[in-house]
């Protein structure tokens, strides 16, 4: 019996436990996690080398923002949802068109937002 293909999702989050938790949650929700990238460089590498159907981006990664990743995702046509601990006005403009979730959020909300992005 053919196993339905799982969607591969990239998680970009610099806090290790939050990233870990998110990976576990999304796996439980039926996604295959490409990886948890804490930096722009790692994320871009993963994006380049692995299958990536969707992404969850933490806007702020310590010293840098994930804006370059957002740009790369847009060019690659990969839908994504952004999450942040800051307020909406404080996010770079690369995130203006993506749905933005405030931390902390329920996994169900994230999954719903991801599926909506996928179907657009």
């Amino acid at each position: 019996m053919p196993v339905p293909d799982k969607l591969h999702i990239l998680i970009v989050e610099d806090d290790p436990l939050i990233g870990f938790d998110l990976a576990v949650e999304l796996e439980a929700a039926g996604f295959a996690v490409t990886g948890v990238a804490p930096t722009v460089d790692t994320a871009l590498q993963l994006l380049e080398r692995h299958r990536c159907d969707l992404a969850v981006l933490d806007v702020n990664l310590g010293r840098e923002t994930s804006a370059p990743i957002a740009r790369a995702l847009v060019s690659a046509g990969v839908p994504f949802v952004a999450v942040t601990g800051y307020s909406v006005e404080q996010c770079p403009e690369e995130f203006s068109s993506a749905p933005l979730l405030a931390k902390p959020f329920q996994t169900a909300r994230l999954v719903a937002a991801l599926r909506r992005q996928l179907h657009q």
Binding site: D14, D15, P16, L17, I18, G19, F20, D21, L22, A23, V24, E25, A28, V36, P38, T42, N60, G62, T84, G85, Y86, S87, Q90, A102, K103, P104
Partner: protein, 460 residues
Amino acid sequence: MHGKPGVSIAPGMTDDEAAYLAAIVHGSADAILSTDVKGVIRSWNGSCERLFGHTAAEMIGSCVSEIVPPELREEAREIGHRVGMGESIESFETVRLTKQGRPIEVSITFSPIRHTTGAIVGISEIVRDVSQAKKAERSAAMLAAIVASSSDGVVSKTLDGTITSWNKSAERIFGFTETEMLNRSIRSIIPPERQPEEDSILSTVVSGAIIDNFETVRVRKDGALIDVSVTVSPVRDTAGRIIGASKIVRDITDKRQTREQLRTLLAEVNHRSKNLLSLVQAIARQMTRHGRQLDLGRFLERLQAIASNQDLLIQNDWRFIPLGDLVRSQLGAFSDLIGNRITIEGPQIELTPEAAQSVGMAIHELATNAAKYGALSNDDGHIMICWSADRQIFEMRWTEESGPPVSPPQHTGFGSRVISDLVRAGLEGTVEVLFPPSGLRWHLSCPLQRISRGRIHARP
């Protein structure tokens, strides 16, 4: 005129004409008195009586020095001498005394009185009380001093925006000197896109209203833009008509910078708080996977471990946590056993906040586990914690010995996931967890740059 009647000084003057001139002096609102060349008072009109309080009867025949303050008598004598030589002195400002001894500021015009022969026979004094005027002058001088010394720029302008005054602080704030700005338009310090502001300022002022602490931007002489706060008030003439405006300008660049720094800081606080909440959510969630009940005690202990990490971060300005401090902090109560049942060895490494979280939580789990089942659960067990940083590789080991016999755990709870998966993923390294009978062994290896951005000191 009170005095010797019938004395005609001018030739051919009739008694009527003399009487007429006398009436002018008598009825004059100015205080007019006259003395001989030696200063003896010969005449004293009604206004003198009102000004000084002495009657004519009291003064005629007395010396004029009676109304001169002692310290000014020398001055009065000198004037008497000069006028006696034929000099007229106009509007001489000095002080005289009333009958009560009260000093009054006066302005006196002294003129020689000449006989038809040309000889000087006396001195006339027209005395004006200038105390009110002097008071107003002093008031104005004080206000001028206040404006001059004010640390705010004070500028006045006419209703068409022409600058009529420009104080020292305005020079300092804008870089233009008073000479450069007088009679120039105020618009020269307003940036092009804000010119309409001047129109609305003027119309507000013309209606008699005050503009209070209006924050805007102006231009310095060097072209730089500065943030300022402006207060504008109408200036009225004595009839109450508005003839211009006065502006107080304060440079608020510092204040604005401070406000922005605060805003950034508060956003940062908000962000960190949200992250901590997400962390708590993550722990609770991961502890209750697969339908497990929340072990509240363990949950709270883990929150405490996070809190201890925070304290260490804050002590180091949120930049890093020294590994030695982290290990000691996460050992908690067991840190008493360091040097005894617990050995710590390794160079001082500054961990990034993210690495500190992973490693800190792992140490917490390992310590809790050791206390429950491992080397700290009996009286003889020993733990060796060591780490090294050679050739860009970081290695850390937790080795337990002489505890009760161990075996691999049955299920992977949150704790076991923390010491393995979490650390592995967070640091992009390898983690090995072994359960030989002698005791648990935990070994982490990862690139040094994943764990630290700082210096490494030999001293632990």
